[in-house]
């Protein structure tokens, strides 16, 4: 089409101009409707004398949350209570994603095994987990934990000072202090440093062609910072021993049955999906790759690890992203079995303040933000994996 003419009417027939025009109109419509809804809702709320705004976030929450990774008291604000809920959501999601990845990889490979019993068992595992709603499994795992393990007063002592009951698993813990946090931070620093050093040495080795052993430098980078931190900060080693009380076992650190049931439920359900993704990924790698690997003398396990899985990852990563996303979002089912996640704290907040629109807006934003973060990270990782392609 001739686009040289400047007549506005002719311009309308330009495919590119029209494409842009449609998008502008669509965005304007969405923004316009949004503004209209927002304006009307605020006006109606004001007419009905319903408190609006986010001022309530700075008021004291006045309720306890039984599990928290940051210091939280009932006199802290609603905002902090919501943060506690968010951290609980993130915490259980991270573990569930890790559990589902490991289990999924194993089951996915087992599905392709030449051993008929193994592949059949893997098939049953996948089908049983994929075809029943997650919520029912959560109820099931929770009911099992609560029914199988004895009440806290009759807790099993499985190791010295380690107790197991339907109140959870209780193990001795360190009396945590800022010195411990320092050591932990420097250990993380050490791991990062070790990776940096290792990859720098590898680059040099490739460039120079000289094979000097890298491991002493890597070990130094890995262990140096934490050892230095221990010497400098000298953290005390005070142990919180669990002790039987009248109702509970106090002291130590407790893994609650609610957390366990949610972790197991989310992790197992997602692992069935991951297994199918892994299976599809492995099947996508051409037969010739196996044969070629065998021809150069690799055995099966090496072939899988060095030849097939790296190539399969390209197919695996995109659907894996959506599996991770649903695991994260499904963690909101926690409320059914009493795990204090973001939705539970948010519900309590909405009920106490009556400000439901704000409450729902907050947790929609948080879930949206977290989902986008996971997507971006996985896209970045996918781009890295995809670069392997020639």
């Amino acid at each position: 089409m001739a686009s040289s003419t400047s007549s506005p009417v002719r311009l309308l027939y330009d495919v590119r101009v029209r494409a842009i025009l449609y998008q502008v109109v669509a965005v304007a419509l969405v923004v316009g409707v949004g503004f209209y809804l927002f304006g009307t809702v605020s006006r109606k709320l004001a007419d009905q004398n319903i408190a609006t705004g986010f001022d309530y976030l700075s008021r004291p929450a006045g309720f306890v949350i039984s599990q928290s990774f940051i210091r939280y008291e009932s006199s802290d604000t609603y905002a902090r209570a919501l943060l506690v809920g968010l951290l609980n959501t993130v915490w259980v999601s991270i573990f569930a994603v890790m559990l589902s990845s490991v289990l999924g990889l194993i089951v996915g490979i087992a599905r392709l095994s030449r051993n008929p019993l193994l592949s059949f068992l893997a098939l049953i595992y996948v089908e049983a987990l994929r075809n029943v709603p997650l919520l029912l499994y959560l109820f099931l795992w929770y009911a099992l934990i609560v029914a199988v393990f004895p009440p806290v007063r009759e807790a099993w002592q499985i190791l010295p000072d380690v107790f197991l009951s339907n109140g959870g698993l209780i193990v001795p813990s360190l009396q945590w202090s800022s010195a411990h946090s320092g050591v932990l931070a420097s250990a993380v620093l050490g791991i990062v440093l070790a990776f940096v050093v290792a990859s720098a040495l590898r680059r040099r080795r490739v460039a120079s062609g000289q094979a000097r052993p890298a491991w002493p430098f890597v070990m130094l980078a890995l262990l140096g910072p934490p050892l230095l931190a221990i010497l400098l900060l000298q953290p005390d080693l005070v142990v919180n021993w669990p002790e039987r009380g009248r109702f509970r076992i106090t002291g130590g650190v407790q893994v609650t049955p609610e957390f366990t049931a949610l972790l197991v439920g989310l992790g197992l359900s997602a692992s069935a999906g991951v297994a199918e993704i892994v299976r599809a990924g492995i099947l996508s790698v051409g037969r010739g790759q196996w044969e070629a690997a065998r021809a150069v003398g690799l055995h099966d396990r090496q072939t899988m690890r060095l030849v097939v899985l790296p190539q399969a990852l390209r197919v695996i990563v995109p659907p894996l992203t959506s599996s991770y996303l649903s695991t994260f979002k499904n963690s909101s089912l926690a409320i059914a079995i009493g795990y204090p996640d973001l939705v539970m704290v948010s519900n309590t907040t909405m009920n106490q303040t009556g400000q439901a629109i704000e409450g729902i807006a907050i947790f929609m934003l948080v879930y949206l933000g977290m989902s986008i973060t996971i997507s971006l990270f996985m896209n970045w990782y996918n781009a890295r994996v995809a670069l392997v392609e020639r």
Partner: protein, 340 residues
């Protein structure tokens, strides 16, 4: 859960945009035009509002709705019951989805002042209690240090617990369930040492236990839970109708007017009874209702005492004694202002 809540929130927002009545004063007109009262009740609460095997709502709260229907329409069945859970009950009322909320709702300062709501008179004086297994040998709430406590979210329950235990320096583990069944099961299976809720609610939990005698409700009442019907703010005519219907049921019990004897009572010499039943005066007109509004409410539903005994009383599964819900002149707190 997340999606459901989000959808409800959006629905509530959308309702408040499109469905709220144009003028706040118009509830009675809207109700008459529609031909029925929309009444928000709890989905399943034994004794207060639950659907029986024929699907008919039974219980104390639903009967309050029926009494309002009788007062407005002269018939108790012009009610449409809308089950609302604790999370969305206020939005349901604010948005105009219901005309009246009659569902075990505690009257509190902040709800009254900041939610665009008004409360009718208190119909049930409840309080939060704690129930434990008799095996624990616990005699009072003060002994509950380090106990795990199962509770439901959303009401004032969680804050009351903290308000009661914190000054006494009692630490506890709170396990909060959204689901009623999980909540009860966690307690019965020993996950929690204590279960807490309004005392009337604990009575219904105990009623469904395998062996109710194994459980005891501790003597402490750790909060005041005055339950009252709720209406939207700024519609004083509608609020008067709901309030005085409740008062009429209470006054009827006080003056010995009940379902059976109400027609004889029309001939009563007591001037207050005469005004209440519309024999003299024009109280009905002042509410923009029929002169027989209170007569119908009592005749068709029974007085306060009859409604209480039918749903919650000692002969029911809940087996509650009147306690503070006895009339003021019999040692309780139930009291109606005069009909004059």
């Amino acid at each position: 859960m997340f999606c459901k809540l989000a959808a409800l929130g959006l629905a509530a927002a959308a309702f408040s945009v499109f469905a709220a009545p144009a003028s706040a004063q118009a509830t009675l007109d809207a109700v008459k035009k529609r031909g029925k009262v929309l009444c928000g009740v709890s989905p399943t609460s034994a004794g207060f509002s639950y659907a029986d095997d024929k699907g008919v709502r039974q219980g104390f709260d639903s009967d309050v709705c029926r009494a309002v229907s009788s007062a407005v329409f002269g018939a108790p069945d012009k009610v449409e019951f809308v089950p609302l859970n604790t999370n969305i009950r206020f939005q349901g009322l604010q948005s105009g989805e219901v005309d009246l909320l009659s569902r075990q709702t505690t009257m509190t300062f902040s709800r009254d002042t900041s939610l665009g709501l008004d409360f009718a008179p208190i119909v049930f004086y409840d309080g939060q209690g704690l129930m434990v297994s008799t095996k624990l040998g616990v005699k009072s709430a003060g002994e509950l240090s380090q106990a795990a406590i199962c509770l439901l979210p959303g009401t004032t329950t969680l804050q009351n617990l903290e308000d009661y235990f914190k000054p006494r320096n009692i630490k506890y583990e709170a396990v909060v369930f959204e689901d009623n069944n999980e909540w009860r099961n966690a307690f019965f299976s020993g996950r929690c040492d204590v279960i807490t809720s309004d005392r009337s609610d604990l009575a219904s939990v105990r009623a469904v236990a395998n062996d109710p005698k194994q459980f005891v409700i501790l003597p402490e009442t750790i909060s005041k839970e005055p339950l009252a019907p709720v209406v939207r703010q700024n519609d004083s005519n509608w609020r008067d109708i709901v309030s005085w219907t409740v008062n009429a049921l209470i006054a009827a019990e006080e003056y010995g007017v009940n379902k059976g004897n109400i027609d004889e009572q029309l001939k009563s010499k007591d001037p207050e009874v005469q005004r209440l039943l519309g024999v003299t005066g024009d109280l009905g007109k002042m509410l923009n209702l029929d002169v027989k509004w209170a007569y119908n409410a009592i005749k068709q539903n029974g007085n306060y005492g009859e409604i209480f005994e039918r749903s919650l009383g000692e002969k029911t599964a809940l087996g509650l004694s009147r306690g503070p819900n006895q009339l003021w002149n019999k040692g309780g707190l139930i009291y109606s202002p005069p009909f004059r």
